[in-house]
């Protein structure tokens, strides 16, 4: 059967997901389906569970109830090998970059594909150079992370995640730790990825960016998806009092 006739398997399917830290339930039943290539912006107050939800998708947090499927594969939280297989398909970018400080930029990018995929050195090198070029840092191959600005470090982190050729990227407030003048360079890279068809799930406080780049905005409130929809509608015409209040608090 030709590929274009198969019904698209959702990139991500979450059903009835509940997550507690001790007695504190932070996700109270999340249902969410993400199509391949879809760009999703998750917004909401701090403590609404948005980062926790993102971290559940690649198993950095475990959840107690519900199911989560990536590309049709159910997430097996107790199976370390299955989790590693999953994480090869789901990349993550963090607020605090988390580059490995003892490795050069090039080695940061080549580490995981070398260890996990066992790619030969010439392929690794070629891939790292190509990805660095893509994020506009070709000349930083031999630099150490602490020699780069925050924006540059975050772009390296994106290149590092892309080196595993993920089908989906999770972005956890990736511009929140940046000086305002450095936010643009990182968002430009993310926007280019979105245009190329990468499935993106991003927790963000950049409402203008969410409006411009995302296909769908999800507003989380008290551990639930409170309201969702295309950005034009959601921002212009919020249906719930909570979202109206949240949006007006940002003004």
């Amino acid at each position: 059967m030709p590929a274009d006739l198969t019904p698209a398997v959702p990139a991500l399917t979450i059903a009835g997901l509940r997550k507690s830290f001790g007695s504190n339930e932070v996700l109270k039943g999340i249902d969410l389906t993400v199509a391949p290539g879809e760009v999703i912006a998750i917004i909401g107050k701090s403590g609404s569970g948005k980062s926790t939800l993102l971290r559940c998708v690649n198993g950095l947090e475990t959840f107690q109830h519900g199911t989560l499927e990536v590309d049709g594969q159910a997430l097996a939280q107790d199976n370390a090998a299955a989790m590693r297989a999953l994480r090869q398909r789901v990349g993550m970018i963090f607020q605090s970059f988390n580059l490995f400080p003892h490795l050069t930029v090039g080695k940061n990018i080549m580490l995981a594909p070398g260890l996990v995929r066992k790619l030969p050195a010439d392929v690794l090198l070629e891939r790292a150079r190509r990805l660095l070029e893509r994020v506009g840092l070709a000349e930083k191959f031999d630099a150490y992370p602490d020699q780069l600005s925050g924006g540059q470090q975050q772009r390296v982190a994106i290149a590092r995640a892309l080196a595993m050729e993920p089908m989906m990227l999770l972005c956890d407030e990736i511009t929140s730790a940046l000086d305002p003048e450095l936010v643009g360079e990182v968002l430009a890279v993310v926007e280019a990825l979105a245009k190329e068809g990468m499935t993106l799930l991003m927790v963000t406080h950049e409402m203008n960016f969410a409006r411009k780049v995302s296909d769908r905005v999800i507003f989380m409130h008290q551990g639930r998806v409170h309201e969702q929809g295309p950005p034009e509608r959601l921002f212009a015409d919020p249906q719930t009092a909570e979202l109206r209040q949240f949006l007006s608090s940002l003004q």
Partner: protein
């Protein structure tokens, strides 16, 4: 009464001194490599190894850090033969030093590991590295870099502590000094020479290990 110093009487015994220096350096080199390795393994167990092993490692570390080195050495050399383990003085010395440094470096390395930002471990996990890969390639190198000065100090303490091994007739440097002064009764000169040699060895070892650190951990100035 003026003291008449006769260093020639000591220095004429240079083959003994040289042998002593060689043994001290050799014992230190072997115990530093194996001891730090043992310390890393123990630190791994303590921080993320199998839970059933942790009490064992904790007991070992406490036992060694709370007893004198000379007792540990005597136990291995004089005590173990009763259990059928008969070791030469040299082997007993190496084993005692490795075990001793292993316990101290376990604590030092563990402190370095504990200072690892959680985000680095999460980044490694999200890149699909296994826990072991994450430990070896992401956690360990910056941890060792953080505690390298402390490790160097501990290695030097163990080198100086190796003087005790002369007590079971391992022909290390202090043993050579004792032997020379017992032959020519020039105790003052003998121990001056031995002192100067230990001082030179310590300073040389510190310099060498600091250089090694700077080479192994490029950008040692980095946090």
């Amino acid at each position: 009464m003026a003291v008449e110093l006769d260093f020639a009487a000591v220095l004429s015994q240079w083959p003994l001194l040289l042998l002593g220096v060689a043994w001290t350096v050799g014992l230190t080199a072997i115990s530093a490599s194996l001891g730090v390795l043992l310390g890393i393994v123990c630190a791994w167990v303590a921080s993320q190894g199998p839970r059933w092993l942790r009490p064992l490692v904790a007991s070992y570390v406490e036992l060694i850090r709370n007893t004198p080195f000379i007792v540990q050495l005597f136990f291995i050399f004089f005590g173990l033969p009763a259990a059928g383990v008969r070791l030469s003085p040299e082997w007993a010395s190496v084993i005692a030093m490795v075990i001793n440094l292993g316990a101290y470096s376990a604590e030092i390395v563990r402190a370095g590991i504990q200072a690892t930002p959680k985000g680095h471990i999460e980044a490694a996990a999200s890149l699909a590295l296994s826990r072991m890969q994450s430990f070896i390639f992401v956690v360990l190198p910056p941890s060792l870099q953080r505690v390298w000065p402390a490790l160097v100090s501990q290695i030097i303490i163990v080198m100086l502590g190796s003087a005790v091994c002369g007590q079971i007739s391992t022909p290390e440097l202090s043993f050579a000094g004792n032997l020379i002064q017992s032959r020519n009764f020039r105790a003052f000169e003998s121990y001056i020479v031995i002192t100067v040699l230990y001082l030179a060895l310590s300073m040389g070892a510190r310099l060498l290990l600091n250089r090694l650190g700077a080479r192994v951990f490029p950008g040692a100035h980095r946090g």
